[in-house]
Symmetry: C2
Subunit: 532 residues, 2 copies
Amino acid sequence: MNKKGLSILMRIRMRPNSAAKLSLSPLTQNELNQTQMNSQVNQSASSNTEREFELVRASMNSAISMNKTEVLDAVLNDFSAGYFNLDHENRRRLLLVLAKEYDLNRTQVRELIKQYLGLEPPSGENAQSSGLEEEGLLSAFYRTERNLRHALNPVYEVLFERLNTHPGGLKFLSSLRADILSILAEENIASLRALDSYLKEKLSTWLSPAALELHQITWDDPASLLEKIVAYEAVHPISNLLDLKRRLGVGRRCFGYLHPAISGEPLIFIEVALLKNVAQTIQEVLWDDPPILECEATCALFYSISSTQPGLSGINLGKFLIKRVITLVKRDMPHITTFATLSPIPGFMQWLLSKLASQSNLAEAEDMSQSSANGSGSTFWENILEPEEEKAIMDSSAGIAAGKSGMEVMLNLLTSTNYEWTNSAELLLVLKPPLMRLCARFLLQEKKRGKALDSVANFHLQNGAMMERINWMADRSEKGLRQSGGIMVNYVYRLENIEEYAQSYFSKGHIHASADLRRYVKPLEEHEERTD
Amino acid sequence: MNKKGLSILMRIRMRPNSAAKLSLSPLTQNELNQTQMNSQVNQSASSNTEREFELVRASMNSAISMNKTEVLDAVLNDFSAGYFNLDHENRRRLLLVLAKEYDLNRTQVRELIKQYLGLEPPSGENAQSSGLEEEGLLSAFYRTERNLRHALNPVYEVLFERLNTHPGGLKFLSSLRADILSILAEENIASLRALDSYLKEKLSTWLSPAALELHQITWDDPASLLEKIVAYEAVHPISNLLDLKRRLGVGRRCFGYLHPAISGEPLIFIEVALLKNVAQTIQEVLWDDPPILECEATCALFYSISSTQPGLSGINLGKFLIKRVITLVKRDMPHITTFATLSPIPGFMQWLLSKLASQSNLAEAEDMSQSSANGSGSTFWENILEPEEEKAIMDSSAGIAAGKSGMEVMLNLLTSTNYEWTNSAELLLVLKPPLMRLCARFLLQEKKRGKALDSVANFHLQNGAMMERINWMADRSEKGLRQSGGIMVNYVYRLENIEEYAQSYFSKGHIHASADLRRYVKPLEEHEERTD
C-alpha cells in the first residue's frame, strides 16, 4: 500500500461494533435493524415533505413501467438517490406501495388459470401417438403454462431485474432489503413479507457462488477495501491499525467473496489463524505474539466471519466461502490438517437465564422446597441443576447472592453487575461444572423446528461441521460474558464429512459431536431427538 | 506473449468458417445445427449401447433428485462426461426424457390452483382495515401464491441451477442448448421447445451484463484465448497469424465479454477498425496497409461481431457489448465521433432470387408479355424492375443469359456459375441500379412480424442503429456475392439516439434510415409501414 493509502486508512474512524456480522455470531433480526436503519436514516436528518415522497414514487413508477430507453439509467439513478433521501416512515410507505400496488395482475392470473384448466395436459400415452396436431395442442398447453408462470411473477420483478443490471443496483437492492427486514421485525405485513421472500429468491440467484470471486485480502489491498474490513468486522472488533495489520500478516489469513457488481467491498469475509493446536481462548488468537512459523502450523482456525450486507441476511454465502477456503489452504499448505472454528454461543445466556428465572418462579409459586429432592410436583418444573451442583452453589454464595433454591442463587450470581462472579476464583470453580454441562445441553439438545436453537451452532451444523469442544473462560470480554457466559466452542470441519454431516443435520436434525462433548449430557442422551 | 505461447498459436489449425457467428451475420438455425451437432457428435464415433444410455440417464436422475451431498459434484461431472459421450440419437432420447419426465408435477399444480381459487385475494379496501387476523389470511394467500409459482417451475430447473453453480456447468448448459436447438430445427417437439424456452430464460438471467466483464483482447493475451478468436471469427475468417496480429494491432481493437464461470474464452467479441472515414468496402478494412495514425481517426468501424456459443442463440449480448465499446472508445479517444458498422446483408440474395423466380413463373404462366407495360394482370404479379432497368438488362445480356422478361434474364445472370456477371464491366454497370434499389427496398421495406426480414438488419436496428448507406461491390468474396450480391451496408450508432431508435423500432417497427438510402425507394415511401 502506498503512503497515501496508508494515511487514508489512518483516518478511518473505527466504528465500534456497528456493522452487521453473520454466522460465527449471526445478528438477530433486531440487532440488524438498529444498525441498518439508523445508519441510513441519519442521511436525511429532517423528515420529508409529501412532494419529496411523491417524486420518489413517480420515479419508481417510471423505473417499472418505462420501456427501454436511454432515460432508464437516469430514472434508476433518480429513484435510488430519492429513496436514500427518504426518512424511515416514507421509506416504509414507499415499500408498501411497491408491495401492494405492483404485485400481480390477479385478474390475468385467474383468466390464465381458467384457460389452463381447460387444456389437456400432456400424458405419457398421448406422447406416443402424437402427430402434428397433437404437438400443436401440446404447444398451446405449454404456452399457457408458461404464461401462467410469468403472470404469477409480481410486477416489481421488473424493478429488481432492472436494478440488478444497473451500475450500483445490486448494492442498492441489498440496502432496500435491509430496510424491509427492519420493518418486518417491527410489524408483520403480509404483502411486504411476500415481497421480501421474492427479493431474497432473486438475490440468491444473482449471488450464486459461480458469480463470486474468492479474494485473499492482504496488506497490499487498497485502503478503501481494508477500511471495509475494519468497519464490518463485528465478531472481534479491530481496535487499531496494528491489530488490522496482524490479522493480515504472518500466521494469519483473510479471505473475502467479491461480486463484480459490488466493487471494492467483500460481501462476506473470514479471518483465519494458522496455529499449532486448536485454540481454546480468543486471547490466544487475537493477542498472542509472536505468531508461530507458518510451516509449523497444523491447524487453520476460523475465528471470525462477517457479512457486510445486512440485506443479504438468510442467503448462505458462508458455507461456500468456508468450503473454498479449506480447499485453498489445504492445497497451499498440506501440513495443515485440522480446520476448526473458535465461535461464540450467542444464544446460551439468554436461554439459561430465562430457564433459571421461570423455574425459580415455578418453584416459589408451588413452594417446592420439600418435593425438590425428587424433582416431581409440577410437570413443568425441572431442577436443571444436579444435587451436588446445587449444594456447592448454596454453600459458596453466602453474602454475595441470595435465593431460595440453587437456581435462584445461580440466576442472581449470573446477573450481578459487572459479572462479579468472574472475579472470584471460588465462584468460578463452583459455577464451571453446571455452566459447562448446561452449555453442552443447550448446544446439543435445545432445538427449534428440529434445528439447533443457537444461531451460530445452526450455521456451522448446516454447513457440515461437527461440535468438538467447549472452552471455559474462552472469551472474557463484556460481550463474551453477556452472551455466552465466557464459553466458546470449537466446531471442526472435515472436508470428507462436510456434505454427509450437512445432509443428516438438514434432513434429521442430527448433530454430530465429539464423545467429550456428549459426555456432559450423558443422562439425557436417550431423548436427544426431542425438539420443542 | 512468450515464445511458447506463440508456438502453440502457430499450430492452430485454422478452421474455415466452422464456428457460429452472430449479429453482423447471424447464423440461421440450420447453419447452427450443422456446425454444433457435428463437432460434438464426432467425439463419439460409434453409437452407444443401451447400457451407456441408461448410465447417463441414471446420473441425470441423481443430479436432479439427490440432496446436497459431497457426491453431487461427482454426479454432475459423471453426467456431463456421459452426455458428451452419447451420440446424436441418444442425446435426443435423453433430452426428451428430461423434457417429459422432469417437467411439472401437474397434480400438485391443480391442487394448488384449487386452494388458490378458494382464498380471498388482497384488495385495497381490506388492506386499510386489516387487523392481525386479516394479515394472517393474507399471509396464507401469499404463501399459496408463492407455492403455486414454485410448482409451475419444471423439475429440470434443479438440474439447470445445479449445473450453473458447478465448475464448467454454465458452458455445459450452453452446449446442451445448442443440441436442443439443433433437434428443434429438425422436428417440432412441444415439450422440448418448452424446455428450451425455460433454459433460455435461465441463461439470460445468469448472463446478465452485470455478470460479464468487458475485456480488450490484445496480442499480449494468452495463446489459448487468441486461439478462440481465430476459431470463432466467422464473419471474415482470419487466414493466418499476420492477419490476426494486424486485427489486434495499431488502428484496430478487439473487445470481448468474458464470464467468470467460462474462463479464457469470450462469449462474444467485436472487431473494430479506427479509420478516417466510414469504410465502403471490406478490403479497405482487412487488407489496406499501413493503418492510419490512430490520432487521425474519426471513425470506429465495427467490422465483425462473433458469438462463440451457439447455445446462447437468442440471448442478445451484442447490444450491451456495442454500447459499452462505444462508451469506452469515446472516453479514450474523444477525436472519434462516428461509430458505424460495415455489415453483410445475408438475406438479400435469397429474397431477391426467390422473388425473381416466382415473378418470372407467374409471368410465364399468364403470358404477361403484353400487359407487362402497365404491370397489372395478376394481383400477385409485380414487375420488380423499372422499365429502363428492364430495357438495359435485355439489351446487354445477349449471348450470356436468356429469358422472356427482364426478371428472368436477371435471375439467370445472378445464378450463373462463378458469378460471371461480376467479371463484365458492362453487366456490373447495368445490374448496379436495380440491385442497389432492390437492396434498399429489401432492407427498408421487407418485414416479418413487423421486424426487418434481414437478420443482421434486425440485430442492429433492435440495438438502436440507423441505416446509413449501402455500398456497391463492397465484398467480392464468394460468400459476399452469394449472400448479398457483393453489397454491404453501413449502420451508424449514435449514443444519443440508440435507446430512442431501439424503442421506436421495437414498438412500431420503425426503421431509421438516411435520406440517401430512402431516396432509392422513394416511390414506395408511402406504404413503408406495410408488413407481411
